[in-house]
Symmetry: C2
Subunit: 143 residues, 2 copies
DNA sequence: CAAATATTTGCAACTTTGTTGCAAATTAAT
DNA sequence: ATTAATTTGCAACAAAGTTGCAAATATTTG
């Protein structure tokens, strides 16, 4: 895990600092997307809010992390899986927002269908967020 | 136009007040989705921020307006077209966010394709936001 | 390895966005 | 026209996000 973190930093030409390592660690050990507040908490409150904002922004700029616009209007961040590069994100998966537990997940198994656009519109990145009940919360109900 | 506004209020059992009329007016005369700030501006700064927040919320609750989660993470509001009712939105169209001019538009001509979900997930509302270049900005480039 | 340079961090201060309680004003009902 | 219900604005607050700058840390170079 630690090796993975260093690898990511090296690959993207980022200097190896405490906060970057800590934040990447949190991402790697979390199944769900996280917001700024989660990140403060999970890094043990040992970094300034500003540092976290700036680190997340750096990761976005380098294509390490992408944001997910969810219905509750809090920016959530998640690791990019594939071929994202600086300034260009290609997260081709669907995001799922669970209305019961509030978690946002990247559905890596899925891919976004082709979206037909009216004449004159040129699409770039497509965001699909499905709101509903996740597998964990749905199963709980059946009991 | 004025008649339309009153009609909407009557249909949803809402009392006829200055701010509600003004805000509906703005929606009816705007092609794009608007955020809270836009709304303050376009109503001529004559309402308190709180009133605008509350009025927008009321409209959402009644199914008159829906929100659009965009990449820039500012809540944008737009009129519901079809069969939205209190507590249940059915906006089945795609939203388009223009990276050049920053406007968010409802593409009424479109509809959201069926999104296949992994086992265990139950979908409810699906949000599709395409980022790209809108017809206006794309044409401008060609010159 | 140490000095020089570049980058990153934390602090303070601030802006923007959104919320809540309550009294005054407006709207609707009788 | 009076009463009852709803809506508004104000004040105060909370949370989210940004900026400038000096101190601290990381990297480079000799």
């Amino acid at each position: 895990m630690e090796e993975m973190v260093l690898d990511i930093l090296r690959k993207h030409n980022l200097s190896n600092t405490d906060s970057r390592r800590a934040i990447l660690d949190v991402f790697l050990s979390s199944k769900n997307a996280l917001d700024h507040h989660d990140m403060e908490e999970k890094t043990g409150e040992r970094f300034d809010r500003v540092t976290i904002y700036r680190t997340l922004q750096t990761f976005i700029d380098r294509g390490i992390v992408h944001t997910i616009p969810t219905a509750d209007n809090i920016v959530k961040y998640a690791l990019c899986r594939e071929q994202c590069s600086a300034g260009h994100h290609h997260d081709n998966h669907i995001h799922f927002f669970c209305e019961k537990c509030g978690t946002t997940t990247c559905l890596d198994e899925t891919s976004i269908p082709k979206i037909p656009l009216p004449k004159g519109y040129v699409g770039n990145v497509v965001n699909v967020v499905v709101n509903g009940t996740c597998s964990k919360c749905g199963n709980a109900v059946k009991r």
